[in-house]
Amino acid sequence: MFLLEHDGKSLLARCGLPVAAGVLLDTADFDPSLLPTGPWMVKAQVAAGGRGKAGLVRAADDLAAVRRCMADMLGATHRSMIVRSCRVETRVAQAHEAYLSFTLDAQAAAVRVMLAADGGVDIEAQAQVAGAVRSLVLAPEADALDAGIARLVDGLSPRLSAALGDAARRLARVFVDEDLTLLEINPLFVLVDGTWLAGDARIVTDDNASYRQAGLRALIDDRAVAYPEAWRKEHHGCDYVVVDPQGDIGLLTTGAGLSMMLIDEMRAAGLRPHNFLDVRTGGLRGDPTRLVDVLRWISEGPRVKVLLVNIFAGITDLGEFSNLLLEALSRVPQFKVPVVARLVGTRVDAARTVLAARGIALHTSLDEALAQVRVHLAEGVPA
């Protein structure tokens, strides 16, 4: 998952790496004793780039200015995400700004390290200058990373070479040991005394590695509101994303690709699906709990008027699934919308019998099911 800057910097600090002192605040009416030493930078916490250019990273010289900046930023929308908190941190003065990033090169099966002696907000412009961004793909072992990093900083000024070499070697350890898939520090401040610290942190963690990353699990639990998708996956074993809060069609679907495609096609046809879901029918194991949770989440969509169930499963017993679905529906009585079911797989006849007992018709063609969805939507509209 894409970490908010504050959480990224907390991760770096936990690993012993230098970051500016800072605090996460969610109201402009905060206790001033919480602030680190000023003057400050006030930085809106949204998991997207381009904050500086959008006025969501601002300098503040006194307490009143910090409160003003926060009042402006909280509740603002950036790339369709709402700013719910700000990190206020000690401003770094008189520093050189460099760029350093670690990503995975899936084709080469290697770690790609990119370094620019001159970083900052205009890194995209720098990238156009030949030779300004140095890049190497390296094997993920410590020796290979260290040797490659030595080549990468070769030829820089002695101060930059020493500082960026130290930063890169230590960040490379964090990248591998913490199971990260993106670690980008821009700007990376190099101070006049030759020390460095991370001015920003763009970090993507590997949720699949949460079983061996206690820090990541703790973060997901502490900040469920900031990372709802990761929290649901960690605790419910399925992927659920609200794609349109005003959508009127709830989706109970399995399989990432088919669920995405269904949403694409519905939108192209002028329909408004409320959510993406990969429920993973193979993981239900005869227990309706996950379906109950999912139905509760969908029922929270204020405009959802119909539920479309689309399951194409090679191995799932559809008769068993249908019983679980009816059990789950009965446990979420507040969710009173018509259900359209489209099921393909083993024991579809058993499923048809089970669902018919509750007045739910089973379709095997997706187009027919969508036509039925439209009928229900039209019924929901007053004449």
Binding site: A106, A109, D179, A209, V243, G255, V344
Partner: protein, 294 residues
């Protein structure tokens, strides 16, 4: 070269055969025609599963049966070690349906199989099949009709739906390979271009892709480099997905233009691929090619 070539004579091992999934899929694969010769499980008390002999290690299983391919039905945390064990035992093709393999494990495993010259299909895949003959994994039979169309896919379910509609339209598949939905994987679309170019039973190719990563773009480049002469169709999921949020598959994540639908569709069209906007459009386009072929 990546070589996923298998047929009904290929001797296949199932690692994790005593587990719930291993037992079920070993039986289903055998019922379909796959020559399952052995299972591997550390549970020493189990001598056989439905008549398939069970060994404690891959090395013993390979020595006793000559297995050359392995299907791994083990947990995500054990997967990297299990693949390494198969490779060390001399297995040449490994298929790993397991979901949830950590990305750094996949990176190291990809390096390992490349160094050994082993073909790895997965992770997070329903597997592969030669329709009507053999399957490694659990592609659904309702979608498997023998025919001339090569099929490779990131998504299991979207490929099931595609195969199901094509089957209903009378279009069957030759070799179907689920490369899987993880960002780092054993075999990428582009790496299978030489195989499908050389495969006599394949007359056209369908790729079922999705947003995220750069595989579709690499695949388009590989088609040009290999002067791939067979018709190619593509269906790409996630056109309307939000940026910055992982859509079910760990690999399905868009950052800006990187990994976006537009970037993929453009690259594929430049390489002469027929990019289809919906399942229906894909079914019609592939059926039209099928009907018109000599």
């Amino acid at each position: 070269m990546i070589d996923p070539g298998v047929d009904r004579n290929t001797p296949v091992l199932v690692q994790g055969i005593t587990g719930r999934a291993g037992r079920m899929h070993a039986r289903r694969m055998r019922d379909y025609g796959t020559r399952i010769v052995a299972g591997v499980s550390p549970r020493a008390e189990v001598a056989d599963v439905d008549g398939v002999p069970v060994y404690a290690t891959c090395a013993e299983a390979v020595a006793a049966t000559g297995a050359t391919a392995s299907v791994l039905l083990v947990g995500a945390a054990q997967l990297a070690d299990a693949v390494a064990e198969a490779v060390a035992a001399g297995i040449r093709l490994v298929v790993t349906p397991t979901e949830g393999m950590p990305v750094h494990d996949a990176l190291r495993t990809r390096r390992l199989v490349q160094a050994a010259g082993v073909t790895w299909i997965g992770a997070s895949t329903p597997g592969m099949a030669v329709a009507g003959e053999v399957k490694l994994g659990f592609l659904p039979e309702a979608s498997l009709l023998p025919g001339p169309l090569g099929l490779m896919s990131k998504s299991g379910t979207l490929s099931y739906e595609s195969g199901y509609r094509l089957t209903a339209a009378g279009v069957g598949t030759s070799v179907w390979i689920g490369v899987g939905g993880d960002p780092v994987k054993g075999t990428r679309f582009a790496e299978l271009v030489p195989f499908y170019a050389a495969h006599a039973g394949t007359e056209a190719l369908l790729i079922v892709g999705e947003i995220g990563g750069s595989e579709e773009e690499e695949f388009a480049q590989a088609l040009i480099e290999h002067a791939f002469a067979k018709p190619v169709f593509a269906l790409i999921a996630g056109r309307s997905s939000p940026e910055g949020i992982t859509m079910g598959h760990a690999g399905a994540l868009v950052h800006g233009r990187h990994g976006s639908y537009a970037a993929k569709a453009e690259a594929l069209e430049r390489a002469g691929v027929t990019v289809c906007g919906s399942l229906d459009e894909m079914t019609r386009a592939v059926s039209a090619w099928h009907a018109a072929r000599a």
